[in-house]
Every structure is written in structure tokens, then in C-alpha cells.
């Protein structure tokens, strides 16, 4: 409980910093919103003339896109900076700070580098989500909305887990930009329903790099679709589980990394 309150204090500080640069913050958010908005539109336009791709209509694809955007934004707020900055911290020794505070180093790392810069992504994602639901004429009961929130948190955890797993190896490998780029490369697969790919790719995206749980599987429950290929339909409910597992793996790897931490500087 104390940690929760403390985390909120850290978050407040970051907002205070953003407030210092209010104009820049707003301008950046606007620019990002425009860029994200363009991506949403293009995704829709890809399908527009054709009307649908396989069994997915244009707005259903837009829904997939919006879920991924929201997931990325959620993960971005809490996890992106802490772990992308990790490489720099480990290389120039500023990671020492994490180990000399009376707090769990993982917690302190995440609190210290909380990012306020993802509102644009989140806003565009939610807007696209809402538009999709309206256009697809999907009615959501209170229970379904609750489940949607749980799912979205789960998707955020999946992206967070990947941020962690692709950046923590910096404790061993020094230069790990390449792995991060591989991560975003694999993420690009899920812009569209994975049923457009050959089976082996879908399998890879489900059981090895489970990005498909960010949008493809959970969306089908809300869309009342059954495009599961060779996979069990149960997978549509597995997103939060996958999220938790990935984050636990990340945390464990982090603990291992601390043990191996070499520090640097003079």
C-alpha cells in the first residue's frame, strides 16, 4: 500500500515536470495525435475499397489497430522509459541509483522514469476503439465493459513484458538496440488479423512471441467472431494471463540482471 502511494508521488513529480514545459508538452501531444490519427486512417483505408479482408470488415480491422494502440500507450506510460533508458543507465553507471535507495530497485526504476508522453496515443486509440464499436453496432453490457478494461490492462502488460524482456539483456550484452528493433518488427505483424498469414507465422505469434494476444484473440469475443484457425477458441480469454506471465518473466530477469550488474564509470 505504501508503495502505491509512493508511486503516485513519483507520477505527480513527472506531471510537475511536464507542467514546466507545458507548451512543448501540448504541442508534442498534438503532433503525436496527428501522426497516430493518420495511422488509424491509413489502416482503415487499406481495407476500405475492398470492403473486407478475409472475414474482417474495415472497422473490425480498425478495432484491432485501436487495441494495439491502447496497449502500447498503457505500456508506454509505465514501462517504456524505465526500460529503454536502462541501457544508458547500465552503461554510464547511473543505474547505481536504483540500488542505493530504500526501495525495491524495480519499483524505483519504474517510478523514476514514468512517462507522461502517451496521452496522444491513448486518446487516439480510445477514439478509434469507440468509433469502431459504434460503427459495428456492438452493444456492451456493464460486464462486457469491465472485461474490456481487464483485457486492455492485460494487453498493456503484454507490451510491458516485451519491453522488459527486450531491454533487460543490457545487463549482459551492452548494446541491445537491435533486440528492441526486432520487437517492434514482430509487433508490426499484428496490425492486421493474423489469419492473413501462413499458419506457421500465426503459431509463432501465438506461442512464441504472443503478440496475437494483444488484439487478434481478445477482439473476437467482442466481435463475436470465430476466426481461430487451428487455435482453441479459449484463447480469446487468455490475454490477462499472458500479460501476467510475461511481466513475471520480465521481473525475474531483472532480478537476475541486478546480480550480474557490473556497474561502470571510474
Amino acid at each position: 500500500m505504501r508503495y502505491a502511494l509512493l508511486y503516485w508521488d513519483f507520477v505527480k513529480i513527472q506531471f510537475r515536470v511536464a507542467q514546466e514545459y507545458r507548451a512543448a508538452f501540448l504541442a508534442r501531444s498534438f503532433a503525436k495525435a496527428v501522426a497516430n490519427g493518420a495511422s488509424v486512417c491509413i489502416t482503415y483505408l487499406t481495407i476500405y475499397s475492398f470492403g473486407h479482408v478475409l472475414s474482417w470488415s474495415a472497422f473490425e480491422v480498425m478495432l484491432l489497430f485501436s487495441m494495439n494502440t491502447i496497449a502500447y500507450a498503457l505500456a508506454g506510460f509505465f514501462m517504456f522509459h524505465p526500460f529503454t533508458k536502462l541501457q544508458q543507465r547500465v552503461n554510464d553507471g547511473t543505474f547505481d541509483e536504483m540500488l542505493t535507495k530504500p526501495l525495491n530497485p524495480f519499483f524505483y526504476l519504474c517510478s523514476r522514469d514514468f512517462s507522461t508522453g502517451y496521452f496522444a496515443n491513448l486518446a487516439v486509440g480510445i477514439a478509434a476503439l469507440v468509433v469502431s464499436f459504434i460503427q459495428l453496432d456492438i452493444k456492451l453490457s456493464a460486464l462486457k465493459i469491465l472485461w474490456l478494461v481487464v483485457v486492455l490492462i492485460g494487453t498493456g502488460m503484454i507490451h510491458s513484458g516485451f519491453f522488459m524482456l527486450t531491454n533487460i539483456p543490457t545487463f549482459w550484452l551492452i548494446k541491445i538496440d537491435a533486440i528492441g528493433r526486432l520487437r517492434s518488427t514482430f509487433e508490426s505483424f499484428i496490425r492486421y488479423p493474423i489469419s492473413i498469414y501462413d499458419t506457421w507465422i500465426a503459431v509463432m505469434l501465438t506461442y512464441i512471441f504472443p503478440f496475437a494476444f494483444v488484439n487478434f484473440f481478445p477482439a473476437q469475443y467482442f466481435l463475436q467472431k470465430s476466426d481461430f484457425m487451428i487455435f482453441p477458441p479459449m484463447l480469446t480469454f487468455m490475454t490477462p494471463v499472458v500479460g501476467v506471465v510475461l511481466m513475471l518473466m520480465g521481473y525475474a530477469l531483472f532480478q537476475l540482471g541486478i546480480r550480474n550488474y557490473k556497474s561502470s564509470g571510474s
Binding site: 512543448a24 504541442a27 508534442r28 498534438f30 503532433a31 503525436k32 496527428v34 501522426a35 490519427g37 493518420a38 495511422s39 486512417c41 491509413i42 483505408l45 487499406t46 481495407i47 476500405y48 475499397s49 475492398f50 479482408v53 478475409l54 538496440d177 537491435a178 528493433r181 526486432l182 518488427t185 514482430f186 508490426s188 505483424f189 496490425r191 492486421y192 489469419s195 492473413i196 498469414y197
Partner: protein, 261 residues
């Protein structure tokens, strides 16, 4: 001198081997995803708006060659130099900033094209098929149009980056220009598949000349007359953009001297 810069740039890229491999892999995956979505879209659809799957795949493969120019992030290149005040030297000769940038970056682009795009084009053609231009005139027209398109891109980026004088950062402009390119240059979705009203807007803007029009010539969706007309328009836009750029540069110069740099 510019040749030396070109060579230097090219050599630098050769040094970063792992990066190169990752880059190739990344580009290939994007290509793969794109091809897959178009194949899926065209499932049971022989053609749409007069475009067949074969033409579409050719389009996708050829644009990944010309789209390399956009990887340069020119607005960032210009923006950084303006912010760092390197530009003050160029106030005497504003033209040299543009050209030296181009020379340096042309080295990188050549590298990218030679080492990535061409091999990927060949690989892609082998896996998915590729339709070569039927008429002979398409080749030189395509090359000319592509080159002019690259210059149009550079001019737009240059123009947009001048806003750094007012905003003190190039990030916003990069995002917004990026968004405009995404929507109107045809790199993700060719304009043939746009709703009429959006197509009309796109026609008024210069972005389509960077990717869509040259690719259109290559794929054969452009008649000879249209190609000539396009090239003429490209040249006109180049004049217009550069004129505007020069004008804004002068305004910026005024502001800087008034504020004391």
C-alpha cells in the same frame, strides 16, 4: 567535394554490420506483412478499380526502393543543424545547406538502395512475382519521375524544417509532415483505392509525386501523356516549393538577426 561526402557516408554504413543485418530483416518483415495483407485483400477478387494483384505486388516491391529516401528523416537533419546554429555559416550561401545535405545523405541512400532495396526487390520478385514495365518509355520516365520525386521530398522537408526557427524543435513538424506523407504519398495505400473526395484532396498536394506517381508509371497505370504531365507538375512543384523555401528563409534570417542569433 560532394562526391567525397557521398563516399564517406557510404563507407560509414558498411562498418555497422549487425545493424545492417537487423535493418534488412526489419525491412523484409515490413515488406512481408504488406504483401500478405494485399494477398489477403485480393483473395477471390481478380481486380479492383482496374488494379490486379500482380500489379499491386509490383507496386509494393518497386516503392520499397524509392521509399528509402524517406528513411533519411531530412527534417530532422535540417532541424538539428538549424538548432545547433551550424546554419549561420550557410546564411551566406543558403543553397549549400540543401546540397551538402543531399550529397551526404545520398551516400546513405545509395547504400540502402544497393544493399537492401535491390536485393529485396529481387527476393520479393522471386517469391511473389513481379511485372516488368511493358513499354520502353516507362523505364526512363519512371527513373526521372522517381528522382524528381526525391527532390520534391527534400524540398518539402526543407520547407517544413524551417519552422524550427519559430518552434525551436523539429519534432512536431516531423510528426505532422510524416502524417501528411502517410496519408497522401501512396506508400501504404495507393491512391487508386481512395474514396473520391480524398483522392481529390491528394491531387492538390505535392506528396503523391514522391511515391505514388513514379510507381504508377512503373506499374503501367499511367499513360504516356499522364507521365509527361506528371513530370511537368513535379518540376512546377519543385519551383514553387523552393521559391517558398527561399522566401521563408529570408524571413527567418530577419528574425535571427533581429534577435541576435
Amino acid at each position: 567535394m560532394y562526391l567525397a561526402m557521398w563516399k564517406n557516408s557510404f563507407k560509414r554504413c558498411l562498418v555497422y554490420r549487425t545493424n545492417t543485418i537487423i535493418q534488412f530483416f526489419t525491412s523484409f518483415v515490413y515488406l512481408f506483412v504488406t504483401v500478405n495483407i494485399w494477398q489477403a485483400l485480393y483473395r477471390n477478387v481478380p481486380q479492383l478499380n482496374g488494379v490486379s494483384l500482380a500489379q499491386m505486388l509490383t507496386y509494393v516491391l518497386i516503392i520499397q526502393v524509392i521509399v528509402r529516401f524517406q528513411d533519411l528523416e531530412l527534417s530532422r537533419y535540417y532541424g538539428e543543424r538549424i538548432i545547433n546554429g551550424n546554419v549561420s555559416i550557410d546564411f551566406i550561401r543558403p543553397v549549400s545547406l540543401k546540397y551538402s545535405a543531399f550529397a551526404t545523405l545520398a551516400g546513405e541512400v545509395s547504400f540502402q538502395i544497393l544493399l537492401f532495396s535491390i536485393p529485396m526487390l529481387v527476393l520479393g520478385a522471386f517469391i511473389w512475382g513481379f511485372v516488368l514495365p511493358a513499354a520502353l518509355w516507362q523505364w526512363p520516365m519512371f527513373l526521372l519521375s522517381a528522382l524528381l520525386g526525391a527532390l520534391v521530398y527534400a524540398s518539402i522537408e526543407y520547407l517544413m524544417s524551417l519552422t524550427v526557427f519559430w518552434f525551436k524543435t523539429y519534432f512536431h513538424v516531423q510528426c505532422i509532415t510524416g502524417a501528411l506523407f502517410t496519408l497522401f504519398c501512396g506508400s501504404a495505400v495507393p491512391l487508386w483505392f481512395y474514396p473520391d473526395w480524398l483522392h481529390a484532396i491528394a491531387n492538390l498536394l505535392p506528396f503523391r509525386f514522391v511515391i505514388f506517381e513514379p510507381a504508377g508509371i512503373f506499374v503501367g497505370k499511367s499513360t504516356f501523356e499522364h507521365a509527361i504531365f506528371t513530370i511537368g507538375l513535379q518540376i512546377s512543384w519543385l519551383f514553387a516549393l523552393n521559391f517558398l523555401g527561399h522566401f521563408i528563409w529570408r524571413r527567418a534570417q530577419l528574425i535571427v538577426t533581429v534577435q541576435g542569433g
